[in-house]
C-alpha cells in the first residue's frame, strides 16, 4: 500500500496548506491577481481557514477541519479495509458539510430558517467560497475516491476512481446545481424569500400557453410557437439533409466535394449570422425587397421578422448538420440489401421505398430530433429576426434584461424550454437506441448502392441545386456585406467598417489597437484558448472512462454528462447567473464563468469523438501497459493519448471554434470587462450597425477557417506519416485511425 500512502500524504499536505496558506473566502480582486498576498493573513476578508476559526469567529468551520483531520488519521492505519471505510466516511461527511454550510450561511448569517431556530442566530455571515474552501471540498471528494480505491473499487485504481469522482463533482456543481438553483429561483422573490406566486401566475400565463390561433384568435402562446417552429425546422432540415445526402452518395452530381464542404459551415458560422444575411436580402431595405419594389412594385413588408424568417434561417443553419448525420445513414444501408431486393424482382422505385427508406428511418428520426433540439436552443437567429415576438429562448433573455426584469418568469420559461429539449433528448436515447439498422459491419461489404429512381433523382436535384445556390448567396452576403456603406440606402463600396472595427494605430512608437472590435476579439481568443484544452481534456477523460471502465451506475454517469448537450444555452446562461452571483459560489462577471460554461457545454462533443476514436484502440494495449507496471494515469499519457492524436485535435478545434461562435449562454455571462465577440456583434445589430456587425462576423469566420485549416494541415500530415509506418503490417494487427468528423 505504499502508493496509497504517497497519495494520502499529498492530500494531507495540500489540505493543510489550504487551511493555512490561502484565503478561505473569495478574493474580490481575483485570486490569480495575487494582489491579496500583501494583506495576508490578518485581513478579515483574506484570512485562511484556520484564522477564520480562531480570530474571525467563524467557528462552524471547525467541523470541516475536524472531518479533514479525521480523514488524515486513515493515513496511519494499516488495515486496508478500515482505512477505506474511514476515508469514505470522512469524505462524504466533509463534502456534505461543505455544501450545507455554504448554502445555509451567507453574507447575512443563516439563509435558512431551520438552523436558525436550531442553533440560534449567527453574529457573522460569510462570503463566497475561495481558494481554501474549494480546495478542501475537492480534497473531501478525493478522500471518497481514494477510500473507495483502497476498498478495491474499480480494481483499486485510484486514478480512475478519482477521475470519476471529480467529474461527478464538477458536473454536479456546474450543471445540476445551477439548474436546481433556477428551479428554486422560480419560487423566490428578489430577497430570497419563498414566494410561489410568480411561478404560479407565470405558469398560467396565457401568453405562454394560449391556443388562440387554433380557434381563430391572433396568436398562440410562446411555448406553442416555439414547439411549432422546432417541429417545422426539424422536418425542413431533415428533408433537405436527406436530399443532400442522397445527391452526395447516390448520384453522379458533379460538385460532391463542394457539398461536403457545406458540412463545415455551421461549425464556423456564428448562429445569428444567417439571420443577419437574410435581413440584408429580404429585410425592409434588403436587396431583394428593394428590387421587387422597383421592378414589380411589390410593397416592402416585414414578413421576414417572425416565425417564417426564423424558420428559413434555422433551416439554412441546421441543414448541414442533418446532412452530416444522414450521409452516414445513407451510406450505412448495406448495398447487399438493395442488391438482394433487386434480384427479388423489385425495381429501383420499389427498392427505394420498401428497403432503403425503411432502413434509414431511425437515422431520419435522429436527424429530426437533432434539428428539433437545435432549433429550440437557437438564440441568435430569433434575436435578430424575431424582435420581441420571439420564441422561448429570446423571451427568457428579455425577461432578464428587458424593461421589466422578472427572474421568476425567466426561470419558468427556461424550465418549459428545458423540458421540451430533454424530452426530445430522452426520445433520442430511449426510443432510438438499438434501433439502428444502418448496417456498418467490419466486413467489407462489396456491391454497389442502388441508383435512385428517376423521379426521385430529379426531385432531389431540383431541391438541392437551388438551395445550394441560396446558401452561396447568403454566405456571399456575409462576405460582401462588410464592404457596403449602408444597406439599401447607400450601396457604395467602402472599407470603413473594417477600419472602424480593426484599425491599428501607432502612437508614440507604440502599437495601439484602436479598432472598436479588438477588445472583445482578444477576450474571445483568450477565453477560447483557455477553454479549448480544458474541454478536450474533460471530454476525452470522460470518453476514456466510459469506453474503458466498467462500474455500477456507468450508464447514469454517461447519461448525465451527455444530457448537458440537450440543455439550451439560454437555459445554461440564465441558470448560471442565478446560481453563481451569490455565495457559496460567486463567479459572475469573471472570465472563469465563461470558461466553465464553455467547458461543460462543449464537452459532450469531445466525449463523442473520444468514444469513437477510443473504441478503435484495442483494449489489450492499455491492459498490456497496466501489467507493465504503469498505472492508468501513465497508461493514458504514454499509450492512449499518443494514439488518439487526431481525436484530440478534433476536440480542440471544435471547442475552440464553439467558444468563438456561441452566443446563447454567453450573452448572459459577459461583463464589461469580459465581453465576447458574439455578444458585441449582437449589440451592434441591435443598434442597427449592420455594416460593422457583418464585417466583424466575416472576420471571425476567416479566423476560424484559418485555425481549422492550420490544424488540418498539421494533423493530416501526422496521420499520413503514421499510416505509412503502419502499412506493411498484416492487416489484423493494424491499428486504424479514424478520421474524426468535427461535428
Amino acid at each position: 500500500m505504499k502508493n496509497g500512502n504517497k497519495r494520502l500524504n499529498a492530500l494531507i499536505g495540500i489540505g493543510l496548506a489550504a487551511f493555512v496558506f490561502v484565503p478561505w473566502y473569495r478574493v474580490d480582486s481575483g485570486f490569480f491577481a495575487f494582489e491579496w498576498i500583501s494583506r495576508f493573513p490578518f485581513n478579515a476578508d483574506l484570512a485562511p481557514g484556520l484564522l477564520q476559526i480562531a480570530l474571525e469567529g467563524r467557528i462552524w468551520l471547525t467541523a470541516a477541519l475536524a472531518l479533514f483531520l479525521l480523514g488524515c488519521c486513515a493515513r496511519f492505519m494499516s488495515d486496508a479495509d478500515a482505512r477505506g471505510k474511514l476515508l469514505v466516511a470522512s469524505g462524504v461527511a466533509g463534502i456534505i458539510f461543505m455544501a450545507l454550510q455554504g448554502l445555509a450561511i451567507t453574507f447575512i448569517g443563516w439563509s435558512w430558517a431551520l438552523p436558525e431556530t436550531l442553533f440560534g442566530p449567527l453574529s457573522i455571515g460569510q462570503p463566497a467560497m475561495g481558494a481554501g474552501a474549494i480546495t478542501i471540498s475537492l480534497i473531501f471528494v478525493l478522500f471518497i475516491a481514494f477510500g473507495l480505491a483502497e476498498r478495491g473499487f474499480m480494481k483499486g485504481d485510484a486514478f480512475v476512481v478519482g477521475s470519476i469522482s471529480v467529474l461527478i463533482f464538477l458536473v454536479t456543481v456546474f450543471i445540476f446545481y445551477p439548474i436546481g438553483s433556477m428551479f428554486i429561483g422560480s419560487v423566490q422573490d428578489f430577497d430570497g424569500s419563498f414566494k410561489p406566486d410568480g411561478l404560479i401566475s407565470n405558469i398560467q400565463d396565457p401568453s405562454i400557453w394560449s391556443l388562440d390561433c387554433l380557434i381563430g384568435g391572433n396568436r398562440c402562446g410562446v411555448a406553442w410557437r416555439t414547439l411549432f417552429l422546432a417541429v417545422m425546422t426539424g422536418l425542413g432540415s431533415t428533408l433537405l439533409g436527406l436530399c443532400f445526402a442522397l445527391v452526395a452518395t447516390r448520384t453522379n452530381f458533379p460538385f460532391k466535394k463542394g457539398l461536403r464542404l457545406l458540412t463545415v459551415l455551421p461549425i464556423i458560422t456564428p448562429p445569428f449570422v444567417i439571420g443577419l444575411a437574410l435581413t440584408l436580402l429580404f429585410g425592409r431595405s434588403g436587396v431583394v425587397t428593394e428590387a421587387l419594389d422597383t421592378v414589380f412594385g411589390i410593397e416592402p413588408s416585414r414578413w421576414l421578422y417572425g416565425l417564417t424568417g426564423i424558420w428559413i434561417a434555422q433551416v439554412l443553419s441546421f441543414t448541414p448538420i442533418s446532412f452530416l448525420v444522414l450521409i452516414g445513414v445513407v451510406e450505412g444501408v448495406s448495398p447487399s440489401m438493395e442488391e438482394a431486393s433487386q434480384t427479388l424482382r423489385a425495381d429501383r422505385w420499389r427498392t427505394f421505398w420498401r428497403i432503403s427508406l425503411p432502413l434509414m428511418k431511425p437515422g431520419l428520426a435522429n436527424a429530426f430530433l437533432i434539428g428539433f433540439i437545435e432549433s429550440m436552443a437557437d438564440f441568435g437567429n430569433p434575436l435578430v429576426l424575431g424582435g420581441s415576438h420571439g420564441v422561448l429562448s429570446t423571451e427568457i433573455f428579455f425577461a432578464v434584461v428587458g424593461s421589466q426584469v422578472d427572474p421568476s418568469r425567466a426561470a419558468v420559461l427556461a424550465m418549459i424550454l428545458l423540458s421540451f429539449t430533454l424530452t426530445a433528448f430522452m426520445a433520442q436515447r430511449v426510443w432510438l437506441s438499438g434501433k439502428n439498422f444502418a448496417t456498418v459491419t467490419g466486413k467489407g461489404d462489396s456491391g454497389a448502392h442502388a441508383g435512385l429512381p428517376k423521379s426521385i433523382s430529379l426531385t432531389v436535384h431540383g431541391i438541392v441545386v437551388p438551395w445550394m445556390g441560396f446558401t452561396i448567396v447568403v454566405y456571399g452576403m456575409i462576405l460582401f456585406g462588410g464592404f457596403v456603406k449602408t444597406w439599401g440606402l447607400d450601396n457604395s463600396l467602402t472599407l470603413e467598417h473594417y477600419a472602424r472595427a480593426f484599425s491599428i494605430d501607432i502612437q508614440d512608437g507604440a502599437l495601439v489597437w484602436s479598432g472598436v472590435a479588438w477588445d472583445s476579439f482578444w477576450t474571445t481568443m483568450e477565453i477560447a484558448l483557455i477553454s479549448a484544452p480544458l474541454t478536450a481534456a474533460v471530454g476525452l477523460l470522460t470518453a476514456y472512462i466510459i469506453v474503458r471502465q466498467k462500474f455500477a451506475g456507468k450508464n447514469a454517469f454517461e447519461f448525465a454528462l451527455m444530457m448537458s448537450f440537450a440543455i439550451p444555452g439560454t437555459v445554461i446562461g440564465i441558470s448560471y447567473i442565478m446560481a453563481f452571483n451569490m455565495p457559496p459560489i460567486e463567479m459572475t462577471g469573471s472570465a472563469l464563468i465563461l470558461v466553465a460554461c464553455f467547458v461543460f457545454r462543449n464537452m459532450p462533443v469531445g466525449v463523442r469523438g473520444g468514444i469513437a476514436a477510443m473504441s478503435q484502440l484495442d483494449k489489450s494495449l492499455d491492459e498490456a501497459s497496466l501489467t507493465l507496471k504503469a498505472n492508468s494515469a501513465r497508461t493514458l499519457r504514454k499509450v492512449i493519448l499518443p494514439l488518439l492524436r487526431p481525436a484530440i485535435t478534433a476536440a480542440l478545434v471544435y471547442s475552440f471554434v464553439r467558444a468563438i461562435t456561441s452566443i446563447s449562454a454567453v450573452i448572459f455571462l459577459v461583463s464589461a470587462e469580459y465581453n465576447m465577440a458574439t455578444s458585441y456583434i449582437v449589440g451592434l445589430v441591435e443598434n442597427g450597425e449592420y455594416g460593422i456587425a457583418i464585417a466583424y462576423s466575416s472576420m471571425l469566420i476567416f479566423v476560424m477557417i484559418t485555425v481549422i485549416a492550420g490544424f488540418q494541415l498539421i494533423v493530416g500530415e501526422r496521420r499520413l506519416r503514421r499510416e505509412n509506418r503502419v502499412s506493411g503490417l498484416d492487416p489484423q494487427r493494424k491499428i486504424r485511425f479514424s478520421q474524426e468528423k468535427t461535428a
Binding site: N3, K155, A624, S625, L729
Partner: protein
C-alpha cells in the same frame, strides 16, 4: 535477468461473475514455483478470465489469490509482480521494439542507463539484438511475439502469464516458438501460466496441465497422465481423439479390472470402477487390426484413408464404430474388409460414466 525469483500461485475458492453470468463458480488451484502450468480447455471455458484475475485485470467476485505467498486479491494490476504476454501481443504501435521493452522498466522507476541496458539485454535474450529500432509494424509475426515475451520478461516477474501466445502464428512457426518458450522458461526457471485451447501445444510445453470446462477444473496432472489416464469422456476426447465405448467390468482384483467389450476380454487399471456397466476410452492407435478374422472383436471396415505415414479406418463393430490409426502402411486394407479388433496395453482407460 539475474535476480529471478519464481513465485508460487494459489487460487482459493475463486468465483467470478459477469453480471448474472457466472464464468467461474469455484476454482481452487496451486501452482508450484518454477513450473510451467497450462490452462487448457475449449473456447469460453474461463481460461482467459482466470489468467486475467491473476494479472489483476479482473477482480474476483469472491475468494483469494496469492502470488509468492502474498495476498494480492485487491492489488491493482500495475502493483502486482506478474507480467503478461497478450494473445494479440498488444505491442504499442507508436513505440519501437526497444521502447516497447523499456516501457515496463521505465514505469518501475529504473534509471535511464539501467533501462537501456536491461531492455537491450532482454531483446538479445529472445534473439532480436539488432532490431530495437524497428516499429512493431516492421517486424514479422514471430518477431513481434518475441518482443512481447521480452517486454514481459525484462521485469523479472514472479510469474509470467501467456494467453494463447501462438494463436497468431502460422502452424510451422508455432512449433518452433513453443519450443523456444519452453526452453527459455527452463533456462531462466520462472513460473509460467500458459493458456491455450490446443492440446498438442499443451502436451508439448507443460509441466502440468489443468483442463477446464465451464469454469471448473475437469482434470489436472502431468501431460502423460492426462493423455493416458483421462478421467472422463470430456478429457479423453479433448486430449486427442478417443473411442468411447460401453463395456462391462467383470471382476476387480486389487488395482486391476477385467473387462468385457463385445466378447473381447481385457485387463487394465481399475481406478474408481466397480463391477457392472462402465465406459472405456480407447486411443485410435491402441487398437490392433487383425485381417484374418477371429479371436477378437469382429468388425467391418467402413472407410479407409491412406495418409502417408499412417492409415485411418472407420470400423463398425457390435459395440459401436471405432476410429483406428494403423501405422503399418504396407498393409492398407480396403473398405468392406472384415477384421478382428484387439487392444494394446497402453492407451485404454476406464472413465466415469
Amino acid at each position: 535477468m539475474t535476480d529471478l525469483k519464481p513465485g508460487s500461485v494459489v487460487f482459493e475458492n475463486i468465483r467470478k461473475d459477469f453480471g448474472a453470468f457466472t464464468a467461474i463458480p469455484d476454482l481452487s488451484l496451486t501452482i508450484e514455483p518454477g513450473t510451467l502450468v497450462t490452462l487448457l480447455g475449449p473456447s469460453g471455458c474461463g481460461k482467459t478470465t482466470t489468467l486475467r484475475m491473476l494479472a489483476g485485470l479482473e477482480h474476483p467476485s469472491s475468494g483469494r489469490i496469492l502470488i509468492g505467498g502474498r495476498d494480492v486479491t485487491m492489488t491493482p494490476a500495475h502493483e502486482r509482480d506478474v507480467s503478461m504476454v497478450f494473445q494479440s501481443y498488444a505491442l504499442f504501435p507508436h513505440m519501437n521494439a526497444l521502447e516497447n521493452v523499456a516501457y515496463g522498466l521505465e514505469s518501475s522507476g529504473y534509471n535511464k542507463r539501467e533501462v537501456r541496458e536491461r531492455a537491450e539485454e532482454g531483446l538479445a535474450q529472445v534473439g532480436l539484438g539488432g532490431m530495437g529500432h524497428r516499429l512493431p509494424a516492421e517486424l514479422s509475426g514471430g518477431q513481434q511475439q518475441r518482443v512481447a515475451v521480452a517486454r514481459a520478461l525484462v521485469l523479472n516477474p514472479q510469474v509470467l502469464l501467456l494467453d494463447e501466445p501462438l494463436s497468431n502464428l502460422d502452424a510451422r512457426l508455432r512449433r518452433k516458438v513453443r519450443t523456444e518458450i519452453r526452453e527459455l522458461q527452463q533456462r531462466l526457471g520462472f513460473t509460467a501460466v500458459y493458456v491455450t485451447h490446443d492440446q498438442d501445444e499443451a502436451l508439448a510445453v507443460s509441466d502440468r496441465i489443468v483442463v477446464m470446462k465451464e469454469g471448473k477444473i475437469a482434470q489436472e496432472g502431468a501431460p502423460r497422465v492426462l493423455y493416458e489416464e483421462p478421467v472422463s469422456e470430456f478429457i479423453a476426447d479433448f486430449m486427442g481423439e478417443a473411442n468411447v465405448i460401453p463395456c462391462e467390468v467383470l471382476s476387480r482384483e486389487g488395482d486391476v479390472a477385467l473387462i468385457d467389450v463385445g466378447g473381447l476380454q481385457h485387463r487394465l487399471p481399475a481406478r474408481q470402477s466397480s463391477a457392472g456397466k462402465a465406459k472405456l476410452a480407447v486411443r485410435p492407435g491402441s487398437v490392433v487390426l487383425n485381417p484374418d478374422a477371429g479371436g477378437g472383436l469382429d468388425g467391418e471396415i467402413l472407410t479407409s484413408a491412406y495418409l502417408g505415414d499412417h492409415v485411418e479406418y472407420e470400423i463398425e463393430t457390435p459395440v459401436g464404430t471405432f476410429f483406428v490409426i494403423d501405422h503399418s502402411v504396407d498393409r492398407s486394407l480396403p473398405a468392406h474388409t472384415r477384421v478382428s479388433l484387439g487392444f494394446r496395453n497402453k492407451g485404454l482407460a476406464l472413465i466415469e460414466s
